[in-house]
């Protein structure tokens, strides 16, 4: 696939938003790398985006939060319990067995849903923490404690700083050079942060050992212009975050996963 300037005009927004598929992303990038006008166009769009980030977010005032909480509580109180329990003689009939079997299934479904929701909520919190870690690393100018493109330098640096040994892989041949690592804290536990780059985009990879017994998970989210992809494998949680186009971050994720566990 090759693109002309008109195509760039059409797809630039989707590209900047990370909504363009990989094939078009590559075609767009190959055109832009050779076209000054389109480079300027993308730079202009990024500048607008940057400017938009300076606008403060309107958080709900506490008075409103209190009002809404009251509304929610009122509705919850007004809703009658859906399954009034009364013990009747006919429950002893064979129908009762069917009913209790059915309610057992229903109960386990509810439990499954509750567990699922809990996992989602925990993942949401971690997603926020990971984005915070990413933003902090960029804003505080504290991107790296150890600056090195050599994984044999980065990996030993973590020894004695975290109580696990992160797998550090080099993806320079895939276009994602390792630039360093640092110690970070996500959700109150220490994490090894590995820093990779793609052009001028920073990718933070947070790695920590998964707590015993936690379910393995995989998430993919898009929060305030940052993309976060995570998974667990072999007891290790991996969270990657960047403002890179989602298709490219996916590509990075696949290569990282393959290299770490290959």
């Amino acid at each position: 696939m090759s693109m002309k300037c008109e195509d760039i005009e059409r797809f630039a927004d989707a590209y900047v938003d990370g909504e363009l598929d990989l094939e078009r992303t590559l075609a767009l990038e190959s055109h832009v790398s050779a076209c000054q006008a389109c480079t300027a166009r993308l730079d202009g769009m990024r500048a607008v985006r940057q400017a938009l980030r300076t606008v403060p977010y309107f958080r709900a005032p506490e008075t409103l939060a209190a009002r809404v909480r009251t509304t929610v509580a009122d509705v919850a109180a007004a809703t009658p319990s859906r399954q009034p329990r009364s013990v009747r003689a006919r429950h002893r009939s064979w129908q009762a067995w069917v009913l209790s079997a059915a309610s057992l299934v229903a109960a386990s479904l509810v439990l499954a849903v509750v567990l699922h929701e809990r996992t989602v909520t925990a993942d949401d919190a971690t997603t926020e923490a990971v984005i915070e870690g990413h933003v902090r690393s960029l804003m505080a100018g504290h991107l790296m404690d150890v600056a090195s493109t050599d994984r044999h330098t980065v990996k030993p640096w973590f020894a004695g700083r975290v109580d696990f040994s992160p797998t550090v892989v080099d993806l320079v041949s895939d276009g994602f050079p390792l630039v360093g690592g640092r110690l970070d804290y996500i959700d109150r536990h220490p994490a090894a942060a590995l820093v990779y780059k793609r052009r001028d985009h920073v990718i933070n990879v947070f790695v920590w050992p998964q707590a015993a017994g936690s379910p393995s998970h995989a998430t993919r989210s898009d929060v305030r212009g940052y993309h976060v992809i995570s998974w667990t494998r072999d007891g290790v949680a991996v969270w990657i975050v960047s403002d890179l186009a989602l298709s490219e971050l996916d590509d990075f994720g696949r290569k990282l996963d393959a290299a770490m566990h290959g």
Binding site: D13, M45, V48, F58, T63
Partner: protein, 166 residues
């Protein structure tokens, strides 16, 4: 079984307020719309057919804003113009959109001047980070329409910011 809980809806309160605050243009109307949207959402919680709770809630907030506008025929531009006059003493470098203390105020004003259909896609995309698909759900328009609105909205913002630079 109702598929969405009050608890879940509460967790999206900031998103609901942020959208309403932009679309209504002032805190008092935004609060009323959000409060009303929660009453509606809770009443209709049983009708929620799965999917994204946040997008669902935001679509209710958004519709509330539009009906409120229709009811009161709230003046959009008048309020904002007052803040426009007598400022603009700072002129950032023309080569680039310099990020200054002033930028935030300028951008805010530029967003406020967009028409609501452009404003909402900018807010949902840039401040809520919603995907095109979810924005389409909220504003009840096809993804292609969302894409073109976003693109035109950004072009207008860029133009407005460039103009201010002088």
């Amino acid at each position: 079984m109702s598929a969405v809980s009050g608890e879940t809806l509460l967790s999206h309160l900031d998103a609901a307020y942020n959208l309403a605050r932009w679309l209504m243009g002032n805190p008092a109307d935004a609060e009323d719309v959000v409060q009303d949207a929660y009453v509606r959402a809770l009443a209709g919680a049983d009708q929620f057919r799965g999917g994204d709770e946040r997008a669902w809630l935001l679509s209710i907030v958004r519709n509330g804003c539009y009906s409120s506008h229709r009811r009161q025929s709230v003046r959009q531009a008048a309020d904002f113009d007052e803040t426009v006059h007598g400022e603009d003493t700072v002129r950032p470098s023309p080569e680039q959109l310099t990020i200054t203390r002033d930028t935030s105020r300028r951008v805010r004003r530029a967003i406020e001047r967009l028409t609501p259909d452009f404003q909402e896609v900018i807010v949902l995309r840039e401040f809520e980070g919603l995907s095109y698909k979810k924005i389409a759900e909220v504003v009840a328009a096809p993804v292609g329409t969302v894409m073109s609105r976003l693109s035109r909205a950004r072009a207008q913002l860029a133009a407005a910011l460039a103009e201010e630079k002088g």
